[in-house]
Amino acid sequence: MSWFTRIFRRRNLYRDLADEMREHLEEKTEQFMREGMGREEAAHAARRAFGNAVLIEERGREVWQSPRLESIWADAKFAVRQLVKSPAFTATAILTLALGIGANTGIFTLTHALLLKSLPIPEPDRLVRIALDIDSPNGVVSDQPLNAFLLQSIQRHTKTLSGLFGWSPYDFVLKEDTGSRIYSGAVVSGNTFQVLGLTPAAGRWLTPADDQRGGGPDGWAAVISHRFWQQHYHSDASIIGRHVTLTDHSVTIVGVAPKGFEGVFVAMHPDFYLPLEYEPVMRGAKSMLRQPGGLWIMVWARLMPGVSQEMASAEMRTIYPIAVSETLPASVRHLAVIERSSFAVRPGGKGWSLLRPQYARPLLLLQILVGVVLLVCCVNLAGLCLARASTREHEFAIRGALGAERTRIMQQVLVESLLLALCGGALAIFFAWATDRYLLQFLADREAAASLSVRPDPFTLLIAGGCAVLCALLFGLVPGWLASHISIEPALRRSGHSIAAGKNTVAQRIFLPMQVALTLALVVVAAMLSTTVSHLRAAHLGFRIDNTLLAPADFERLPQKGLDLAHLYRRIILRMEQMPGVDNASVAVSTPLHGMGQTGVFTSASSGKPAIDFTNRYWVNDVGAGYFATLGTRMLAGRDFAGEDSDAGTCILNRSAANRIFPGSTAIGQSLRQTNRNMNVGQITTQDCQVIGIVEDAKYTSLREPAPPTVYLPFGVNTGSLASMYFVIHAATLAEARNAWQKALHELAPGSPETDPISFAVQFDDSIARERLLSVLSGFFAALALLLSGIGIYGLMASYVTQRTTEIGVRMALGATRGGIFALVMRQVAVLLVVGAVGGGCLAVFAAHSIKTFLFDVSPGNPAIFAAAVLILVGTGFAAAMLPARRAVSIEPMQALRSE
């Protein structure tokens, strides 16, 4: 009989047992009556011979029970009754836990999705990534991609890695009946999927035979994602072999990736996979596949059996100089920056994401913060449970007196805690889900935010459950231990309600300052992080962000090229400026705070000194006429670009660039020399231009960096990125700007794909997304901790006043003033707060120093912030103690004494 059916058959078993025992007694009674006894006497004798029937029946039943489980079940039922009886306590506890566990689950789920989740492939821990760490004088730039030449070179020499494959994310334009749409995808080596070890959901994978110049046996072969297959072809297997037009060329769908496979880049969801050789077909002259100097392919490989990552890493360091000498021209090879760089082997089983380096540390910080919050929750609940345990002392004493073992009483308290924690944990899953929806809005990469799947799944449940059990142990153990070690006799002798549980109060008094200290540290951290955000917002930018629209152009497929395209840009700008509401419009290659920008090597043409990489490297931006007027950057001297072809050969510097390149002289009218080194062939070219204007300094890639020296070149001279510039439009309202951009585009460049414009204010917010995330969340956590501390202080003081009712009554009868009683209560709070604040202060100093790298313009020892935090905490503490103190003051001496 299985354990399960036994429970359901038990009722019958018990009934049988009771029946046969009754029959037995009757038979025995009749036997005695036959021997001559009276009915009464016989029944009595039968019962005596039988023994204690109730106990025997109980024993008989016990045979079918598992005593431990049954007792836990009984405890749980009892706990539910107890908890229902005190709804205020239960609600507080569950809500506290739900917030604490929810915050932890939410952050951890995000951490898991972004940092910890393994790719859905066999043996993910044997997959590695080979990256280039570039050691430039401006610092190490790690995790850079490689190129096809380096990939082949490594392949030739490695003895520790097998199955090298390259992967480069690429957006494709799919021609559909309804028009053209952009889908994300990747160009990959032919062997990629074999190395990953996946089985296609339909059709076949790409093979090395597909990755050939001119295509493979099926022409250009494409693998589509499972999602795309479902949504566009309703999982129809007959689409294998179908031709589609992808970025102007016909490709054959040969296979479907398995469900759930989203590529090796985290937070991207490619729908098309094509061979690397398809890249030159799409990009034509701008293809990078045959350029040895570009860096655009992320390389992955499997470790050979028995090889560790360190061994592979060591081998890659020896292969690096060989690979460089095989692929780069001699003039480039010996540049210091190339000689000092190296390959690195990094774990690849968890995929790779640009978000990872950006968010790893903030997420870690948040994880620590929520951990502290959970600790505060537990400490708070331990305090509440202690207060509860002391009012239930009588109950525990009676149970002890009736023979309950200590472990049994402890078990009961723990079961109660666990019940609370599990209820909190269940509610927490909803909090976590809501938290993550909210958190993802902060990821600057909106597409990535949308594709990071953070849903309540078994993993989330596991985390929430784990947190709940941990909490139950944390806040249940001390009250449980104390409850099971009550000295029974004195507890019973006291009357049921007047309690002075000395031990418990002492424990509570240890917990409370602990809670206060942790809260203070949280408040200080939150204050520093929010000050950081307000400082960043108040930073002098050198441009305005309101009512400015940034619209990316996608003119790749227009017939106009070179100068013609530049003229088209100018016509669109002029057209937009005629539209209602538009003040200024212009174009630029890079927009500020986008996180990316170009650099170039510049020197004064008259100085005659040779250009050195890095020391003479400046930020550079190609902009149109009116760019500075549109962004509100002040012109300090000279003039703006004219917006004509004659702009070629002129340039504008910002103040710090002018001061650095032409120290001690006016820059206007001087000649600036740009030095270019072609990394593919090693050839050096120079280009001179005349400085026509000086503008004020403005931030470029990052808000945190001081405004860098910058060179502005007229757009159209460098044709490299001419097809994908940004329109910058300043109008009375954003809607008008958007309107103007759409209209002008439709009129002057019909057929070019419509892109999503973004307001400058949003780009600004995105650029401080991490800081905002940290500030908002730490603020929320600090507020939560403050609230919990308030509840804790209130609870402690309320029980203090209850315990001292008689004492306060006596004091008042003896002439103590109401003010004196008030001070008596407040003194208690003050002592706790001082102890907590001193401890918390030390903790906060430590915490503030460890978050130094997250701060901007805030010193970790900022006394104002510390003072404000202490003030907030003390204010909260006294406010929480106010209610119990008022109750103490309103005690009627006569009543208090009479109740004794």
């Binding site: 009989m1 078993l13 049988d16 047992l17 029946d19 046969e20 025992m21 029959e23 037995h24 009757e26 038979e27 025995k28 005596r48 011979a49 039988f50 023994g51 204690n52 029937a53 025997i56 029946e57 024993r59 008989g60 039943r61 016990e62 045979v63 079918w64």
Partner: protein, 117 residues
């Protein structure tokens, strides 16, 4: 009364079960009859508290060493009749042989002079 209780407690664990199984091996019986049988067979030396039979029977039922069925006794009374199962037979044999060994060992210790063999 005190005496019988003492006896019952002094039975070693499993002894009552063994006696029940042995009785049932001879013939199926209901609880009351089992008690009578055990007391008679032991010449009333073993004063088993009658009720203590029932937890033991429940244990045997749980281990599937006996099975039970409601029926009508010779005295026209509704009784639950127990029967030994094949597993019960095997168990009884095993228990008896290990009990005999134990008894022999105890006897040797208590009477060191009289070696049995």
């Amino acid at each position: 009364m005190t005496n019988s209780k003492q006896e019952a407690r002094d039975l070693f664990p499993g002894a009552l079960e063994m006696m029940i199984l042995e009785s049932l091996r001879r013939q199926p019986a209901h609880g009351y009859a089992l008690v009578q049988h055990i007391q008679q067979r032991s010449n009333n030396l073993l004063q088993v508290e009658e009720g203590s039979l029932y937890p033991a029977l429940q244990r045997l039922l749980k281990e599937k060493l006996v099975k039970a069925e409601w029926g009508i006794s010779a005295t026209n009374r509704r009784v639950r009749i127990y029967q030994i199962t094949a597993a019960g037979m095997k168990h009884l044999e095993r228990e008896k042989s290990s009990f005999e060994q134990m008894f022999e060992g105890i006897a040797l210790v208590l009477n060191p002079g009289k070696a049995i063999s």
